[in-house]
């Protein structure tokens, strides 16, 4: 079983909770779909943990926040930019080099892993409707495309006759995802929520049974928010952790 985790955003409490949850569910492989830093106060802890998983065979791709670390000309909102600037001062050169080394897109068997749309990964296109999902599925060319960037979990499918479906999943229900269709799962954000539910999000995929389960995992949001305030990052980022939006 493969655990897919995206948009961790330097939130070590949320990442640890999701990894423990996935392990308990029987996950044997881990895929990290980008945006490991930004917003949160634990970039070093998060990057070290992911690098450790990658050294043991996990897949990781780069997200726009990871890329923004090196690209000073990037355009981001104030709070996000402040967090990136702050991260530059605290993340080790080893950590930065790890993020630099990440690929934008990885294909494996019938799966495609990418942070945003597979159509032009470096353009960070939001997959937030059926048209965008169709384009990403088409560009990725895989039966199963997994991505993040959009923080709310969604499951899209494309039938053999070209019709798209979209579905907002509920935590814990197993959705059959047979290979007679093509699927695109927005796996959810581990480290920062935007739907007024503070619980961390991630997704499990069983390539043998061909089913997908989306999860929301409660974690110690107080600790994560406290660290953000202690680091002097914008208050709005701490509130977003506590309130989930």
């Amino acid at each position: 079983m493969i655990a897919l985790l995206s948009d961790i955003h330097a939130n070590l409490e949320a990442l640890n909770a999701c990894l423990a949850h996935a392990r308990a569910q029987g996950a044997t492989r881990y895929v990290f779909l980008g945006d490991f830093i930004g917003y949160g106060a634990d970039p070093q802890g998060v990057v070290d943990l992911i690098a450790d998983h990658v050294a043991r065979g996990a897949v990781a791709v780069q997200g726009n926040h990871d890329a923004a670390l090196e690209n000073r000309a990037g355009r981001m909102n104030d709070a996000a930019q402040q967090a990136i600037d702050w991260t530059r001062g605290v993340l080790s050169e080893g950590g930065r080099s790890f993020l630099r080394s990440l690929p934008l897109c990885v294909h494996e068997d019938q799966m495609c892993f990418v942070h945003a749309s597979a159509i032009r990964p470096e353009r960070w296109v939001y997959v937030d409707d059926k048209t965008a999902a169709y384009e990403s599925i088409h560009a990725g060319g895989a039966i199963y495309t997994f991505s993040g960037h959009v923080h709310d979990q969604m499951l899209y499918s494309l039938s053999a006759v070209g019709k798209m479906t979209s579905f907002r999943p509920l935590s814990g229900n197993v959705v059959p995802a047979g290979s007679h269709r093509q699927w695109l799962a927005i796996v959810g954000a581990v480290g920062q929520q935007r739907d007024n539910n503070p619980a961390a999000g991630y997704t499990l995929f069983d390539p043998v049974r061909k089913d997908i389960v989306f999860f929301r995992v409660p974690y110690d949001t107080e600790a994560a928010a406290r660290k953000i305030r202690a680091a002097g990052l914008p208050e709005s980022l701490a509130l977003q952790i506590e309130q989930g939006g």
Binding site: S157, S159, T165, N173, V175, G178, S179, H180
Partner: protein, 474 residues
Amino acid sequence: MPEQTPSLKQIDGFVLGERIHSGAMGYIHRVSGPETGFPMIMKLPRVGAGEAGEGLLAFETEAMILPVLKGPYIARFVAAGDLARVPYLVIEWVEGRSLQYLLDQRGRFAAEEVARTGAAIADALHSLHRQDTIHLDLKPDNVILRPDGTAVLIDFGLAHHARFPDLLAEEMRFASGSTPYISPEQLYDTRSDPRSDLFALGVILYEMATAQLPFGVPETLSGMRNRLWLDPVPPRVHHAGIPGWLQEVILRCIEVRAQYRYQSAAHVAFDLRHPDQVRLTVRAAKSDKAGVLAQLKRWWLARGERIAPLSLPNVRIGTAPVIMVAVDTTHPDDERQPAIRRATAQVLSLSAEFRLICVAVIRAELPGEAAGESGTPYDAHLDHRVRLRNWVDPLKMPSNRLSLHVIEAASPASMLLEFARRNNVDLIIIGAPGPAQQALAWWRSVASGVTAGAHCSVHVVRVAGRQGEDGTPP
């Protein structure tokens, strides 16, 4: 069209037997194979060039939903083939007759039989809705009646399950439903309202009672949309012998606007099982359609009709619970009575669409045991019914939400449990052991028997700090 059925006689260990159905959507064969303890059939979709994608989508939808459905009201799922390889579905072959067969054989049903069969279908729908599933293609062809009278729903090809992607959303619109039974909101692509099934149930009840279809068999979209504003002929006009309560139930089920229908299949089942408790409104006495002007006005309003999205089916019917309160009418002045009434009021205040069932269980009487003071025979039922009415009066309940039942039984606990189960009760409210049970251990009381055996939640009301009862010395 050349036959597309696989020529092989065996698929994944299932041996194909006689083909018992060949339709637009696919084929059905009897099969034998791994021992399940019940007869099985295999459904095979029509596949290949020239076949409509809709048949395959319906097949895919059923293959997704059936494996997770539970309970006695569906054909049990056995196995499904990989849709990318050999699509098939093996399910239980349910022994019984389809309601369509019975309608063809017998035409009109007597009111009692309409009620009995309708309640069985409503039970099945309620079980389905509790599982966040809406059938959306309920019709006599898709109802199998077992010899014991229970109803089994088949063919989930058009169904909606709120926890799975809806493969049919926006795919085929109304085109696939069965036009006499389809609800008004389905004509506007709403696939998430369990009350759509209650509309179809209403059409079925109408058909059973009158041998007519309330909206005919329209063949065009505008023909189907007529049901948004055209009044059906009241059933009693077709057949004067149909009782008012049955017309009330039927017309309430087929209200155009879902909020005027029953809000839960459990409520339909309840009314059909307790005709004497059905509150009659103007629907029951209707002997004609609305006037032309009134219908024209509805037609005008219906032009812009859109239906709002809804919550999960199980959450939706959860707002229309069936609450049962057990009242000890043998001890009307017991100090627990106000506490139980208060608890009931609190529970009821949480929902606007509840149904309250008040039950008094009285000891089965021996012949000639009791006589009234003035020599007239003592009517225990009437007496306890009056007490029950008196008990519930302070709650100021609208009569359409309330029913009163006095039941004789040797074992109150098992009678309450059976009554609750049969009426799809969501919550039982009962007092902790009373004075008569003071000497008994808790586990021998009615409340403990009910708590241990209930299929639903039980709210046990205890008066705090009562002498002797909480274990503290007086």
